[in-house]
Symmetry: C2
Subunit: 421 residues, 2 copies
Amino acid sequence: MTTTAPHTTVTTLARTAREAAAALRRTSAADRTHAISAMAAALRAAAPSIIAANTRDLDAARAAEQPDTRIDRLRLDVERLEAVAQGLDTIAALPDPVGQVVDHRTAPSGIEVSRVRGPLGVILMIFEARPNVTAEAAALCLRAGNAVLLRGGSEARHTNAAIGDALAHALARSAIPAAAVQVITDPGHDVVTELLQCERDIDLVIPRGGERLIRAVVEQSRIPVLKHYKGNCHVYVDADADLAMAAEIVMNAKVQRPGVCNATEHLLVHSDVAGALLPVLGARLHAAGVELRAGPRARALMPTAIAATEADWDEEYLDLVLGVKVVDSADEAIQHINAHGSRHSDAIVTQNAQHADRFIAEVDSASVLWNASTRLADGGEYGLGAEIGISTDKLHARGPMGAQELTCAKWVVVGQGHVRS
Amino acid sequence: MTTTAPHTTVTTLARTAREAAAALRRTSAADRTHAISAMAAALRAAAPSIIAANTRDLDAARAAEQPDTRIDRLRLDVERLEAVAQGLDTIAALPDPVGQVVDHRTAPSGIEVSRVRGPLGVILMIFEARPNVTAEAAALCLRAGNAVLLRGGSEARHTNAAIGDALAHALARSAIPAAAVQVITDPGHDVVTELLQCERDIDLVIPRGGERLIRAVVEQSRIPVLKHYKGNCHVYVDADADLAMAAEIVMNAKVQRPGVCNATEHLLVHSDVAGALLPVLGARLHAAGVELRAGPRARALMPTAIAATEADWDEEYLDLVLGVKVVDSADEAIQHINAHGSRHSDAIVTQNAQHADRFIAEVDSASVLWNASTRLADGGEYGLGAEIGISTDKLHARGPMGAQELTCAKWVVVGQGHVRS
């Protein structure tokens, strides 16, 4: 269902989603699988009209002189749309988390006590330009039995409306209520503000986009929000590291795709190995186009580096820039990461299992990696099949969130007339 | 550590707790067990001074003409203090959740991916009069490796200070940093308001008390809050119920302890069995002192009932009052509960497994019970050993929360130089 809701109907949108969520609890895993497969087929069938709608959005973005990177993120050609459809096929094939028994025990009184996974209910996704998110988020929410309200960026509004129409077409021929997926294309900011007040009818908000968008959502929301503000990720090269391995991990973590949240922004190197590692690695990073911003001891070992300021340690560059600091112990590295990091993904390179264990236990981040690149902190790499986003919060879900993270476990008690004595 | 913090030091309190939480990550399960046992011993040793402090609080409460129920909740005699100490012994014996591996897989790239439980970090407990909460909450937070800030009601402030001194005495002789448990006895409301802004240093807020207290905390907090506002619990007696069993469950759920959150407030009865059940059960409830507020069809079967208003269905009486309604289907019961309930604990009485399965899947509550009293929805009855509170939220934890719910699972990735390709 695509809607261009005027403000008066915002609470109706949320209420309609709540009713769809109730109806979804009466559907089977097979019903949901069929619906997601039908959504993939509908996207393929509607490719010409989706791409035509995308052309309108692209023309408007060009007319508004949007930067090229933004226009590229907005573009949906046949290949990209096919990739989205394949993503939906993958989600259709994922195990359905609804009804999974997490825990079971017979309590002293004789009652059988279980925890059983069920849908959260209604999820509101708020995201920026990428129109591929629309269909993928809808499918992943459905996989876990949830109704979803999708509010994409206004630059993608014709594309999102066309995708919403295709999904609605698929759902209309399925056992899933059409209102289980509602694409909101009203350009007004007030719609979001009002939706964020609907705490009775919306169970979870997931914003995806820049830090400013996410902070605005958190400020306004009366509903729980799962999010990450930024990814200030670190690699710490320990005194006991394999330095060749360390160099490969750092190059990959910084250079392979610098604009994403699990790219490494800061390198910490133990003073015992800084002299052996940094001159060579610094030259290699410099040759790869990386700007080095270093503390005084690191800078002395890397002639191409400029001086880092105190503010650098808190920065997420999302670019070919790397902050470098020499530390005197694993403890100092752990303290630096916990003080300046964003609790996203941080790695240690070491051959010393005790040092790795301490790092893993004490670094308070969603993902901690030992002898692996931070770029591997990803739902796909972890085998989740698909991810709805990444959380740096500590409650409910940390790190990449898959279908399971879109459920909650209720207590199910089976007695035979048991009462409290 | 007991503190009577002036406002300027509130952020220091939170920062000190954060540092204690970091130090706690370097302690072992045995360290925590020893500390909790030492806390129990210290409470027993300090019994005379704790009871003397409690006498001061009781005198002040009597002078302020507080109601008897409130004074009773505040009172801590030798027996009650011994029960608290025994509660701590139980917590010391609980399995330690820190380091538990929740999930493990080898991902396609060859990295080993696990989810491992660790402490949340710093927990702020805000609670009303009952001084037994102070020591129990401290012990349960420590069991899961967390530092805790405890802010009890001002009526109990001398008692809480004496308990805090005893706990500090125990921690000073343990491997646990003394600042892992901080009892805040400053009477000012501003302390709480300021603490609720410390989102960088406090990870979770758990308020326990009346709905007004909890709403005020949620309004002010920038930190995630786990809570339940109220317990509007239901028993639904299905057409296929064993009516003798149903009567026992309803009597227990309503009468056994009406002032607590898992007591049943509303009874829904299928019209097929209303005529057989309600006249007898109504008389029995009336004889037990229960005021019956009924819809028209139920009232016709229970001469002692008064008419329920529409507002009654949303009410948590916490008293010998029961709302009663006749419904025509399990569906109608499910819809009523989802519309008027508080997502706490709701029961179905039936011999029909299909009806029970639908009720369990579709009632969106933290606990759903089949042929058992709602009074069994309790951490102790579920075998958790101890509970820190009950959540009617859907994220992170639903229902009774034990030590496990005071942890979060981080992703731990072990590679051998793996990078993203």
